[in-house]
């Protein structure tokens, strides 16, 4: 393995990451150079170290409190490092376009898939390293105070290994999503569904396998596993640190080496996967002679014109065929399932039934918000096609409403009903919860479209933004408030009786109708304005 090539590729990938998020990138700026993350790491560590050292006075009574706290919590820091990169990776790295996340830009150069994977993983780990510096700064100051200096160095080392392990796992998932395949045949459609389902299962399994809260909660603490935990690689860092604290440096060293071996194994698997998709297989096209298909009967029945139905069909195809859209479909499900698994009814920890079902409404609403906010930006420069076509902005608006609400409602209703069964709701409250979920999805769907019509981003970037960053933050933040407002009021109406129930129902209805109307108006006028002139 040529480490010089690894370093150069990693540096290029980090530079691309940094610059892609900026609207006016000056490549000469110090903030556009890869060392900026290292500088942030050092600055964060030193500032927080100094602040903690100054703010926390040395005293024996404090040592009595801080010492046990550090020795209990810090052995799990490497595991949290893996989980952090994995969660952030699934949320952000998997949405990178294949053009940038793929290996086409380097596969013709004299580098091996293994070198590319190590470079790409290092770049991911380096990008998220400030999160570690944020923790290690104060922790190092406190550890030195209580005489745990050597221990904190080992914690830092194993946490860096954890960051890399998380990045290797992200690389594995990313490689698996990079294979080409846009066949529109029946077999192709089925394979896309299977692939989406497989990706959801893979991401969910990884999220749970490396989620310390879930793991420890399900096994009832590390002690409950006893010697069995020594055979689980996810706990090897924790064991190494615990053994170090217990004074068994020899066995601690064995676990450190084992953890490094596990990281190497993950790298090897990630490299094998990348080698498999090192070159994206060419897309296969086949054309059959047949008459032009008419508009989709369901879409026509909904009152959409032939042109509007064509736009909706195109959007559905894009949603299921474009690799960068796949995580958008998968992420809400994974988050929903993780929350559901962590809060599923169990003795002594079950949530009141309608509150649990509200997670399903949240998943549907989140999907509606994601689809809506990205619905215009995902057209990229191909938006010109719609400008050139004989359709009005109002028509495109209607088509986008259908493209957002159709899949969101299709997801919300069955998820709500399934969650209702799990949480033991009778059919009436189950139906009411499904309706509340749908109301939330409709309201935030229109709300997201209002943002998409006004603040979409059409730039080609490594990580597509679809919406300008500030607008994405505002849309997500306000959309979540609206969604939670509707869901909480709706659940309140079902969970309580009398005046509280009536109040909840009124607030739920008011929020749903009010924000749907405001969102509808803002989105409609936004599309009118958008289609007056090409925005790029």
């Amino acid at each position: 393995m040529d480490l010089h090539s690894v370093r150069r590729i990693a540096s290029v990938l980090v530079a691309s990451q940094i610059r892609s998020g900026r609207t006016t990138s000056d490549p000469r700026s110090v903030f556009a150079r890869p060392f900026i993350f290292g500088a942030i790491d050092v600055a964060l560590f030193l500032v927080l170290f100094a602040l903690t050292a100054i703010a926390v006075p040395r005293s024996s009574s404090l040592s009595v409190v801080v010492g046990p706290l550090l020795t209990t919590a810090l052995p799990f820091l490497p595991l949290f490092a893996v989980a952090t990169v994995l969660v952030a990776g699934v949320m952000f790295e998997l949405t990178a376009t294949s053009k940038f996340a793929g290996s086409d830009a380097v596969n013709w150069l004299p580098v091996t898939p293994g070198e590319f994977v190590l470079a790409s993983s290092s770049a991911i780990a380096y990008t998220y390293s400030p999160a570690l510096a944020l923790v290690l700064g104060p922790v190092a100051a406190l550890s030195l105070d209580v005489g745990l200096g050597g221990f904190v160095v080992l914690v830092a080392f194993l946490s860096v290994v954890g960051l890399l392990e998380g990045a290797f796992l992200v690389e594995m998932v990313r490689s698996a999503t990079q294979r080409a395949g846009s066949s529109g045949g029946r077999r192709g459609r089925l394979s896309l569904v299977v692939r989406a389902a497989a990706l959801a299962v893979l991401v969910l399994a990884l999220q749970l396998a490396f989620n310390p809260v879930f793991l420890l909660d399900s096994i009832g603490g590390l002690d409950a596993l006893g010697t069995l935990s020594a055979f689980l690689p996810v706990f090897w860092s924790t064991h190494a640190l615990s053994l170090w604290l217990a004074g068994d440096a020899g066995l601690a060293f064995v676990f450190v080496v084992a953890q490094l071996g596990f990281a190497a194994l993950l790298l090897l698997i990630a490299a094998q996967l990348r080698a498999r998709y090192w070159v994206v297989a060419p897309t296969e096209f086949s054309f059959d002679a047949h008459a032009y298909a008419g508009a989709h009967p369901v879409l026509s029945a909904l009152g959409l014109s032939r042109a509007e139905a064509a736009i909706v069909t195109k959007d559905f195809h894009g949603l299921t065929r474009r690799r960068e859209m796949l995580p958008m479909l998968v992420v809400p499900f994974v988050i929903f399932l993780v929350i559901l698994l962590e809060s599923a009814p169990a003795p002594g920890r079950a949530l009141p039934s309608p509150w649990g079902v509200a997670f399903a409404g949240w998943a549907g609403g989140f999907l509606a918000l994601l689809l809506a906010t990205t619905s215009v930006g995902q057209e990229r420069r191909a938006l010109q096609t719609l400008y050139a076509a004989p359709v009005t902005g109002r028509s495109v608006f209607r088509a986008k409403v259908a493209s957002v609400l159709f899949p969101s409602l299709l997801v919300t209703v069955p998820l709500s009903l399934a969650a209702s069964v799990l949480f033991g709701l009778s059919w009436l409250p189950a139906g009411a919860m499904a309706l509340v979920g749908c109301a939330g999805a409709v309201a935030v769907g229109f709300w997201g479209l209002a943002f998409a019509a006004r603040y979409s981003d059409f730039q080609e970037r490594p990580r597509p933004q679809y919406l300008r960053p500030s607008a994405m933050i505002a849309a997500t933040f306000s959309g979540m408030i609206i969604l939670f407002g509707i869901l909480i009021a709706g659940v309140g109406a079902l969970a309580y009786t009398g005046a509280s129930a009536l109040g909840g129902a009124v607030v739920c209805l008011g929020f749903a109708v009010g924000f749907t109307a405001i969102g509808w108006y803002l989105a409609r006028t936004g599309f009118d304005r958008l289609f007056r002139e090409l925005p790029f």
Binding site: H4, S5, R8, I9, V12, A15, S16, R19, S20, S25, P27, R28, K99, D104, A105, V106, N107, W108, L109, P110, V111, T112, W278, V279, A281, P282, E284, Q459, E460, R461, P462
Partner: protein, 247 residues
């Protein structure tokens, strides 16, 4: 070499050589297997059967060593758009193992020659299609390759840069002994610079040789390469198509 993708046989029993110091044109209709062949030469596509040797080395056995000897320009440029032109070229040259002074000198030479000087410190994302193509061309040439594999290399270039590149290719072949495999749909270019031509159709070689030899084979002495190509690929009689499309 034979290569299938699922049920589709992209390339079937294709065999030809690119002699040192010669420019070989790889021609064929869309979907004939040109890009697959070129990718296989680079080791990017693994043949189902057959052996590809580049300068005596088996591509499948040692792809990285082979890639060091090849300069490649893909059909569609895939560049790191958030690097500047200079940063990207420095990165590529470094991966090929060029030392810093050599790569600075080579890159400056090419930037001047292709009129990119002055733009090298701007992000590639802001470049026009032609400028991106020039960057891809420089990336393929910067490390003194012994074999050039160029997939539609002159796409999007302005006339001056296209002329410069044609002259550079000729010079590299004649004076440096570089072998050049060159695909294009612009048959005038192929006729002007290629020593030999290989014509692919539906994944198989339908004809190969010098342009004169192909003329004789097609029985079209004195015709240009376009007529020869259409005749040999069986797409010569276009009157029905033209008539249908004109209605």
């Amino acid at each position: 070499m034979t290569k299938s993708f699922g049920p589709v046989r992209a390339v079937s029993d294709v065999s030809f050589s690119v002699p040192s110091g010669q420019i070989v044109g790889l021609l064929g209709p869309n979907g004939a297997g040109k890009s697959t062949t070129m990718k296989a030469i680079l080791g990017l596509v693994r043949p189902d059967s057959g052996v590809i040797r580049v300068l005596g080395q088996d591509v499948t056995a040692s792809p990285v060593a082979v890639k060091r000897q090849i300069g490649y320009v893909p059909e569609s440029t895939s560049l790191y758009e958030f690097l500047t032109g200079a940063e990207y070229l420095d990165f590529v040259a470094d991966l090929y193992g060029l030392d810093a002074p050599t790569r600075t000198a080579r890159i400056s030479q090419f930037l001047e020659g292709l009129e990119l000087a002055g733009h090298e410190n701007s992000l590639i994302s802001g470049y026009s299609q032609g400028m991106k193509q020039k960057v891809a061309l420089i990336a393929g040439l910067v490390h003194h390759p012994r074999l050039l594999v160029l997939d539609e290399p002159l796409n999007g270039l302005d006339p001056r840069s296209a002329r410069v590149m044609k002259e550079v290719l000729r010079s590299l072949a004649r004076n440096e002994g570089v072998g050049v495999l060159f695909s294009t749909h612009v048959l005038e270019i192929a006729q002007a610079i290629c020593d030999q031509v290989v014509i692919l159709r539906q994944g198989t070689v339908v004809a190969s040789g010098t342009v004169d030899a192909l003329r004789s084979r097609a029985g079209l002495a004195g015709s240009d390469l376009e007529d020869v190509f259409l005749s040999l690929t069986g797409t010569g009689d276009l009157s029905d198509v033209v008539s249908a499309l004109s209605k």
